[in-house]
């Protein structure tokens, strides 16, 4: 697929333990265009963060990316080498961490940590870099950034630190931002605020966005497309309206049923029964089958392959939900 900003093919990341290697990300593939917002959803432990980190080669032992290609603007990030990859990180692809409260170094000023993101990539004089940092902080709604810039992370509230992390990601006007649940640590109002801001920013700058979250509700407001992850695999991917209105995979349906707005007010949310299997305990066949109401004998035999629907929506399921036939 030429012209794609990002083309991920069969990416596989395992964690090595004494008993063997377990895949946390098990052959995921997807593409993204410039300026596109992709929601990556799934329960805790489904491999979303590992997937995000794998894209930019930030998996540390015992983890290892073992297979696949990450074609970014035509270059395979897995083979360009560490120093070339370093140039890409923070400049062309920025990442916002799940726990951005811990992502700031407690003993360095905010300005030092943001300025370095600029000056490690380009020969920018310090005053000019500081100006850009101040502008970025103002952009994410931090008041009087001129004075706050020289403070330390602990002098910022949780929400403000989150904004600092977001502002840091914006500094070099990257082509792609991987945002790993950047709002989960925040309260709901700030969450909505930041969400809206990010959306505007992405639209204004043409930055593509991978928005990692366990919350389909957030994705529905923000994303152009959505990928649903379960046990290290993308079980369904497609346009946001297609997937949310006509989910084909039972797991996607289960996630949708647990969004409060989808239910009549006051009714109990329908949670998916059971919990996500741990790395070591994934069943043979379809990983979801022990929790799936549609599971049949075939599901225990072999893993479902990818089926592609008419509108670019695709899923991995032996017995997908037929269109127009809602349970």
């Amino acid at each position: 697929m030429s012209g794609a900003l990002l083309d991920v093919r069969g990416l596989r990341t395992v964690f090595h333990f004494l008993e063997g290697a377990y895949p946390a990300v098990d052959g995921i593939s997807f593409t993204m265009r410039s300026g596109e917002v992709l929601g990556l959803v799934g329960e805790s432990g489904s491999g979303k963060s590992v997937a995000g980190l794998s894209l930019i080669g930030l998996i540390d032992p015992p983890g290892e990316v073992v297979e696949g290609e990450v074609l970014f603007k035509g270059r395979n990030l897995r083979t360009i080498g560490e120093s070339a990859l370093r140039q890409v990180r923070g400049k062309e692809i920025a990442m916002i961490f799940q726990d951005s409260l811990a992502a700031l170094n407690p003993v360095l000023t905010v300005s030092e940590q943001m300025v370095e993101a600029i000056r490690e990539h380009a020969d920018v004089p310090l005053p000019a870099a500081r100006e850009r940092v101040i502008a970025a902080l103002r952009q994410v709604g931090i008041s009087s950034p001129e004075t706050r810039i020289d403070q330390y992370p602990h002098e910022f509230s949780g929400g403000m630190r989150q904004r600092v992390a977001i502002a840091t990601a914006l500094l070099n006007k990257p082509d792609l931002i991987i945002a790993d649940e950047p709002t989960t640590a925040l309260d709901v109002t700030i969450q909505g605020q930041i969400l809206a801001e990010m959306q505007t920013l992405a639209r204004e700058t043409g930055t593509a966005l991978i928005w990692i979250t366990h919350d389909l509700g957030v994705v529905s407001e923000l994303a152009d497309r959505v990928a649903v992850m379960y046990a290290g695999r993308i079980v369904e991917i497609g346009g946001i309206d297609d997937v949310l209105d006509r989910p084909c995979h039972p797991y996607t349906q289960g996630l949708l049923d647990s969004i409060p707005a989808e239910n009549a007010p006051g009714s109990r949310l329908r949670q998916i029964d059971g919990t996500a299997p741990s790395l070591a305990a994934r069943p043979v066949g379809c990983a979801f089958r022990l929790r799936c109401q549609r599971a049949g004998p075939l599901c225990a035999e072999r893993e479902p392959d990818v089926t592609e629907g008419p509108s670019g929506q695709s899923w991995r399921c032996h017995h997908p939900i037929p269109q127009g036939d809602r349970p």
Binding site: I56, L58, D60, R86, Q87, V88, R89, G90, K91, A94, M95, F97, D99, S100, A102, A103, L104, N105, P106, V107, L108, T109, E112, Q113, E116, A117, E120, H121, Y152, H154, A165, T168
Partner: protein
């Protein structure tokens, strides 16, 4: 201040309990009259509490008593020996830092490398071999067998700002090497372990990963992000070690006949020279308090989360 007062009382009583210096100081052939004269002159005839109060009163004015043995002010005798000890401790810790911190950093960042294991094994040895034994082995190796270095004493000194130092003369350096090594080895080991565990912990922190996600070069990550965080415990321990070495360099000073405070302490204890022993402990306590203060200041400068106000005891 309260610390100093408490320590003074404890030490004073402890020294009192150890023995009667009169027996050691006075010529056994002296007459009873001479004995009493002597005892009165030294102030040893008065009750303990009066002796203590006198001591305290004098101490306030900077007078910690006259040495029974030397007949000079105790404090002065100790302070004369101080530069020798300071020199020893300073160079020992300098070497420990210059060698230990880089090695520890290497180990912490490459914990699986075989060189790291070798360094860690060496540091365990360095830390656990007793000081006096290590000192004697050094003498055996470098002096007795190889004839490279003199076995004992301080060597030639030159004055800088009125303080005699030996590291500026060749003879002085030759004398300095072994005692400094002896003190430096366990402290290097300590620095290695401290830095290594700090670095190993810091490099798994999210802020390091985030710095990598920003595309920061590895050297800068180590220099600014990791080292900056490790330096906080390292400086603290260096401060504590500085005080501890000054106070307890006695074994090394004895083995190498180094004319410092530690050796003076041992001799004074043998001779029951109460004023010197008491002054010594008072001085060391004062030094500890001072060092603690300095460490706190450095700590606050290094760690922005620490505000001195919150830490006041």
């Amino acid at each position: 201040m309260a610390v100093l007062l408490a320590v003074s009382l404890v030490v004073f009583l402890a020294v009192f309990a150890v023995g009667d210096p009169v027996e050691l100081l006075i010529n056994p052939e002296a007459t009873q009259h001479e004995r009493e004269m002597m005892v009165r002159a030294l102030g040893l005839d008065r009750p303990v509490w009066m002796q203590y109060l006198t001591f305290l009163g004098n101490a306030m004015q900077g007078d910690l008593g006259i040495s029974f043995v030397h007949g000079e002010p105790a404090l002065q005798i100790i302070i004369e020996r101080m530069p020798a000890t300071f020199e020893l401790v300073f160079f020992a810790l300098l070497i420990a830092s210059l060698v230990g911190i880089p090695l520890g950093l290497y180990v912490g960042l490459n914990s699986d490398a075989s060189l790291s294991r070798a360094i860690m094994t060496g540091s365990i040895l360095g830390y656990s071999i007793p000081n006096f034994w290590k000192g004697m082995m050094l003498i055996l190796l470098l002096s007795v067998w190889l004839h490279w270095l003199p076995t004992s004493g301080r060597g030639e000194t030159v004055d800088i700002l009125g303080i005699p130092v030996s590291f500026l003369t060749w003879d002085g350096v030759r004398h300095l090497v072994m005692p400094v090594l002896n003190l430096a080895i366990p402290n290097t080991a300590l620095m290695i372990r401290l830095t290594a565990s700090g670095a190993a912990e810091a490099r798994t922190q999210d802020y390091v990963k985030f710095a990598r996600a920003k595309g920061v070069r590895p050297q800068r990550i180590v220099r600014r992000h990791i080292l900056r965080n490790i330096l906080i415990p390292v400086i603290t321990v260096l401060g504590i070690e500085f005080g501890a070495l000054i106070a307890f360099s006695t074994i090394t000073e004895t083995v190498f006949a180094w004319p410092g405070m530690g050796k003076l302490l041992i001799t004074s204890i043998y001779r029951l020279d109460r004023p010197v022993v008491v002054s010594y402990v008072m001085l060391i306590t004062f030094l500890f308090v001072l060092i603690n203060l300095i460490v706190d200041l450095i700590y606050a400068a290094l760690d922005p989360r620490v505000k001195l106000m919150d830490r006041a005891p």
